[in-house]
Subunit: 155 residues, 2 copies
């Protein structure tokens, strides 16, 4: 079993897509993050849902979440949508020096290599890439399943 | 819509459970993390899958993932399982000063409050707790869905 066999389809967004598209993919596909690619389709970084939320919440509410109560329920959701609607994916990424190092392995990587990369970068997924082809991603949960369900060695 | 209405069931493990149980829950329920509770059932921290993997991978492979190739496929999975089998959940948590601040909101928290807490702590989920009752967790993806699908204000 190699990384390419474990790779699953995963939501991708382009740097130039509206940030709302990233939010919609994370929401609809129940994912913790989306993979961000450039105009050539090359993976750039991973954009977690929490980062999308960071740009949807007004700054003063982030500093003091109790201020969120100045909005009623509808108003709160509306301000979040409005904050995302005016931004592209690129505009909601962390600053380059704070951006997640792209967790990437080759299609030929073993289970143990995927695990080591994920552990080192504290990421819930690695992107499986050969040259310019994205095979998909391997999530921590899928990798743990592969480890736990591996056949035992013959005695 | 308040945090308690959005809360979903989420895998919980105790500090004294075998680390393999945490791995199994993350694998079977396709989750990025489990919530860790103490012997009184009070939430302590969130344990991400990547952290479980960190303890499953031999140290020298973490330092240099290419060394993973000294193992064949089965051998790699076996060493991971063996490393987890000898540890409890408590033993695979990060050191206390590096542990994730427990992302927690009250059942009464609004959507915007949940979003602000998640954004501040860079976490893919918040635990919804009142007194000693855990209502469940709200994930970033569920919260984004609630925000995007909120009814619009009447004009």
């Amino acid at each position: 079993m190699r990384a390419r066999d474990l790779a699953e389809d995963y939501p991708l967004v382009r740097l130039t897509d509206p940030a709302l598209n990233a939010a919609r993919l994370i929401a609809d596909q129940h994912r913790p993050a989306v993979v961000v690619v450039d105009d050539d389709g090359k993976p750039v970084t991973v954009l977690p849902g929490s980062q999308v939320l960071r740009f949807s919440v007004p700054g003063y509410v982030q500093d003091d979440p109790s201020l969120a109560r100045v909005y009623d329920e509808r108003g709160g959701a509306e301000v979040c949508v409005a904050n995302l609607a005016k931004r592209t994916v690129k505009e909601v990424l962390p600053a380059k020096d704070k951006r997640y190092e792209l967790p990437v392995v080759s299609g030929n990587a073993t289970v143990l290599e995927c695990a080591a990369t994920m552990a080192r970068l504290h990421t819930p997924l690695v992107v499986v890439v050969d040259d310019d082809t994205i095979h998909g991603v391997v999530t921590a949960s899928h990798l743990l399943a592969a480890i736990l369900d591996a056949p035992e060695s013959p005695a």
